[in-house]
Subunit: 254 residues, 8 copies
């Protein structure tokens, strides 16, 4: 319950107590306030976000530059941070002209408004790994989102299974990670192989890198879902942002 | 490195130390033992498993009763526990006749060999929820696997979004879960709705319950991957076991 | 708000009024009753259902006979009616043995419990038409559901477009229908053709009747969605029940 | 039968009556006029359209600007209104130069010719809701079409289920709608959730907004068809126009 | 116009002529007889069928034995012939017990009622060829239908392109065919290869014979549609009957 | 056998006859001319082509302008005609600059070189019909190809089944056609409806016109294959050329 | 050219030489013998088969027991060997009763007739590896076919990448293989990983083992085609026989 | 083991021998060097590559010009050769400006750095054939890769099965090839037909050439996988490079 809502109910109950409103009328007034009650759920969520330092994030893909700018300004008002994902370079230029203090991560296509008072960032609990150099933009989206949410990830790139020694060498470094985000296109075999080598859960991100039967990420997403190595779960193709939220959520309140 | 392997290397080094073998010969012998070296990775894994109390699990679906029985006996030798998933009733009957102390969870199609010395089981960190009564076998598979791996889950069933009040009521109880496994067939909307209500990561399990365009779980798996609510990752259709491993891994070493 | 719930709140307010409970405590108790509050939404729904004479319906496909029987008895308790869809003959036999007064519509695979006090049934507002004789079971499911919900439909069968004169003749009889449920398998062209001939909205039901590229209803569902004749909307393959609910809802409160 | 046609038949019958033509010849002449006879069906349709105030609509997508202009002029001749959908901005500019009194709804990509004598527009029977801001163009297409057909809809936008409190709040406002058009991309869960909350039939419009497995609207259309909440029927991806016609037809003659 | 219908109109016109019915009433009565008018189209069709000796055919797949029997009796009444396709052996046995003079083609799954007065059958204009022995049932369905419709086809089997010399040898024999029905499963390459060798149009029938990516005939139907050899058109998977009708129609009236 | 080839063999045989070459050597020379031998099969084909007036046709889609020009010049050498399909406007301009006497059919994207001595063209045996105005380019490709191959087709456009009276009126005019090419996009229902109305075989051409589930022609091609009206066979999406060749082949030698 | 054919041509040339047949007649007779010429190609093939010891193989899946028996007897007549693949146990029993000396490999579903004079079998050039125990039947089909064709393969099973150390250990043993057949279901990642470790070409066989999105082998076949590790080529799902033929062909004549 | 690594191990063993490090410490240090050990596997691979003259190859498709240039320079350092595939013309121009001695194969989209000391190239063992002129770029990619890897292939183009005599003539020339790479788009029937005519294994490359149901190469890849002619294995659509590596690997060490 938000303060406002709590005050409303309190006032109502005081009126009941004082006899200025009858019980039946009070019952009816409580009955007609479903939204506030439900909204209080969202309020609790909001409290959690404030508490854990996770600001809201704007999905920029189908929004106009002016709308993205307006949302970033609103979210970062009062010195907070804000993030917009999937913003193409041309659109980003427009946004940056309107939002002071915003910076653009070009390869990741992310606009970030750094909060005035930078919150402490922990590191190493999450690792973001990628199979090939073409998967880097999606890996970047995941990594920048993690950092924005307070968890600077370990990054290891270009460890696809076609060059297995690289994969094995990397797996050694991943043994202490609490969650691993594994980004891969083409046939997408990396997460399943990793899951057999390390103890952390793998959040697999198929990418749209590929051609022929792998075009658009189809082969990768099917491979990742069908893997017989337990410990792998999958997000949508190219959804580095979503994987980052899964990883940060898994770290939890501690 | 297993003890055996460590002993081999030790003996070799002793021989070098004593001069009974030359350095070049020793280099060559080390070079020709790739398997033990790699096997040592598996060994480390094995150590982790012993340490975290997670025994191996048999996928029973395409195996013969006699093979399942043999594997369960091997795994549970010395008083350990063992698990076999996706075992049909008829096959399970054969297995149980051969494996003393095994029990069969019929709806979940799981055979479990309870370890002699039951390890302490923690509870409540993981929640397993399901959308409809037809999704119960898959939810059972997830829940029994969690418990077997040392984490008795909270269970809430039949909370599909077609009856949203049930979903909302359940979400209140899920606020303290550290990981939520959400099992749903048909259109599979439950995980995305939950992700907007609670802070835990959702491991979504599409089920093959459905007909028409939802037959075999197709609509459910696509919905879960495509959800715009961040915090949902997905395993293969009906893969309750895999979701449980993801959840237990996310709880980590702590 | 159900009576029970209303009584709970009333008691609480009385306690506030009488001073036996403080305002802050009362606020807190209201805050911790989210379910009743949400349930009250369901309650409103329930009121609507009682008012419009639409009892709940059991999807029998993945339920055991004993569960179907138990649900039907609960729903029809106190002389009300109840319906269970997609119940195979063998299972239906078991259910009927347990539920007095239930009857089985074999072709439609529906079990119906007729309410003690039969409510007045209106007719002719809804028409259920089908393309071929193989589509009859799904057309039956739609028609029986409509009747159960208080609207005896007009039935015209076997009017597929391969024999266009039949289609045209039928369309004359459909000019006064307020909603038309059109059931068709194979290439599923009937709804689009009808939409060009009559003023009512068409709720199209693709059926799984077909073979080759039409197997499982794929061609039919795509055709119906892709039709260039406006006025057609589509439900899942074989979902006669869902189409009936759409049609009855469209008739509304009047 | 159009007046022209009726006059033709009358003249023929007069000739029979007067004996100036033999019965066999008259039979033959009637036999050879199939088109007028069939056309009379179209004529009846036309009468209905005039009666209900629903003018024809031009699908502009694959037509050249000059053709769209010509059609709009023909349809709106004599002071009537006319509508062309799916017209890109550049093409629209050309059309507007040729059609006096036409206006362009840019986001909806609709050209509208407002009739000279504006017919009375009723409101509130239809509601058009959308899940996200990216779905607005399709929601606009539906809403503008409804208004053009005489039914100004209630509009509620951005109520996707990832932010469930918004959905619930909106559902309260939808309780009196007679038909709800629900527009959603990504995973398309909104219509199914709404159907569990409100009594009106839902005409669901999947949009092509989405990426990865949701690209082109695939996940949304499957989800909407597969929903287990009865009361949802679906039109083609992005087909806001078609949904509007369904809704207006459902309101019927009353 | 059928005799019956013609008589109706004649009577009406006589009444006009005699003055016993007014012209306006007569106009109205003509207006309300759309079906007969449209039916006259069907009547013309029927005339063509009588003229060309093509009786109707029953699709037996989803019909009960008793319904098939009833239809065959009706169609063959008065000494005519009749055909029912896709009738499984067990069902056929029931049908044959009820329909005197019917015979069952087991491999083709066809029941045939030979007409009392056998019409002259021409031969050689149509050829039915098949790629492998597993395609024989579908080739049989095509061939028996052709013969039943008055055109005994040339049969050449097992000429798949994996053994190209057989294909080439067969192509020599096909040079005089006016239409070739080519039946093939697996990769379905036969029709395209034949089209490059012979002058006749090829009606290609993909069969459901195949496994893996060819399961259900998918690879075959795509290959046949995608062939770059002009002169091939395709019917549904396993639709030997449909191909036969295409071929007989192509021979036309001559 | 081409003249050249025939001369070669003749010379060889003359040499045998005159004794200037031994029999074994002659056998060997015949053995080592596989191509001519095989080419003689093509030669027979060529003879048929000359006899029936059907010149070769160039698929222009993936060829460069210079290659198309060269092929057209080669094919039309000596006063013959030639055709190139699927040539975009820009490329066509280049080709026309290089090929004297060629003309470009813009909507059909066809370049035609009219033969010096125009062969007599028959008309009316083939009809080309289309469902909507967007299908016209493909219908044009079919019609121009037919005419080029000596058969001027009857054209009837815009007779899609959403406006059934147009379809019925057109079907009257199609009763004398020997083959009907039916071109349709969107849901592709036209061919199946026509097949129930007229005696000619229908060569159905799905077009890529459509959106959502009909995008690229998917719904149309499935509908046409799955139609339950016998007498329809299907070519690839947008393949008007292929349909024309099927139709002309069906007319045969007569 | 077969002897018979050669003799025919010789006789013809002799007749030319002696003047008993004119040159034009001889040209015509050569023209009319295309088949023998082409058949001679098949003859060469046959020679190759005799030379390399590769007898024909019967695909038993859609053939009746009696047909399989007949074919095996024909192929093995004169003491040769013969093979029939995809023969279910019940059918195999019937075949074995009719074919003396045949044996049945149950797991591989192969019937083998061992030739009277066993040809020398070489070993080790081909390796057949499999990912899981469920893939064994397909691996067996490949291995038995290889041995039957004269190449006893090295077998290593259960080396799937989920247990990478096994894979790595196996790869050491595969370094000397000239061709590796890699059989895998589920996500099918084994061939791609192996291709990065060993120099031989990998013939990948996806199996139908899998469930959910991997059902029927879909994920496996896509993964194998999409792998970014060069050196992998793929055969149809479960096609162990085809892979064996590829491998044996690759060993060639040497 | 690389020299560096070997030296490390040697130094360690010397320290053991001299007693300057204890055995347990040495064991531990060996345990902590997994990468070098695994790297030694890669090292062996590298040795093989040097031995067989196969340099690494850069996949240029998703890389920037500067990255491609850098990689080519690194790979060709010291006078070696290097190859980059899938480089568009504009990007290639940039690369060539930076890499001295590189040349661009435009149709194949390959950049090649010819090694200083050209290694001897053998010819004729591999054949690269293509079905149509549109398949030439992919055939070029395969052929140039083969040549770069030391095997100049035989090239035969435009031998698609729609003109079977060309196919047959070509097959004569392919009888001595040890591996045949067959490139085909559209329906992709060429590899299956060839496999029935020649003894070599066929590595089939589907191309993305095609339209309608063949768009993107779908029909071709399915046809090639489903072919019933044994001896065909398939790589990804347009993957000429991968096919070349398969072919060169099949030739092996000899």
């Amino acid at each position: 319950m938000r303060t406002l809502e709590r005050d409303q109910v309190k006032a109502l109950l005081s009126a009941v107590q004082s006899g200025s409103i009858g019980i039946d009328d009070a019952v009816e007034r409580i009955r007609t306030l479903p939204f506030e009650r439900i909204d209080h759920i969202a309020t609790l969520d909001h409290h959690r976000e404030l508490r854990s330092g996770i600001p809201e994030v704007v999905l920029g893909e189908h929004k106009r530059a002016e709308d993205i700018a307006r949302l970033l300004l609103a979210l970062s008002g009062g010195g907070g941070g804000a993030l917009a994902t999937r913003v193409e370079a041309a659109k980003a230029k427009e946004v940056l002209a309107a939002v002071t203090g915003a910076r653009y991560h070009q390869r990741a296509r992310i606009i970030e408004v750094v909060p005035a008072a930078q919150k402490p960032v922990t590191g190493g609990d999450i690792a973001v790994v990628s199979a090939g150099t073409s998967d880097l933009p999606v890996a970047d989206e995941a990594a920048i989102t993690c950092a924005f949410l307070g968890h600077e990830p370990l990054r290891i790139d270009d460890i696809g299974v076609a060059g297995l020694p690289r994969t094995l060498a990397a797996s050694e470094k991943l043994r202490d990670a609490r969650v691993v985000i594994a980004v891969a296109g083409m046939e997408g075999a990396l997460p399943g192989v990793l899951a057999g080598l390390i103890p952390a859960p793998i959040v697999a991100v198929p990418t749209s890198i590929g051609y022929g039967v792998g075009a658009g990420g189809l082969a990768a997403v099917l491979t990742m879902l069908a893997t017989c190595a337990p410990g792998v779960s999958v997000v949508n193709i190219d959804n580095g942002f979503g994987a980052a939220v899964c990883a940060v959520r898994a770290l939890g309140r501690a």
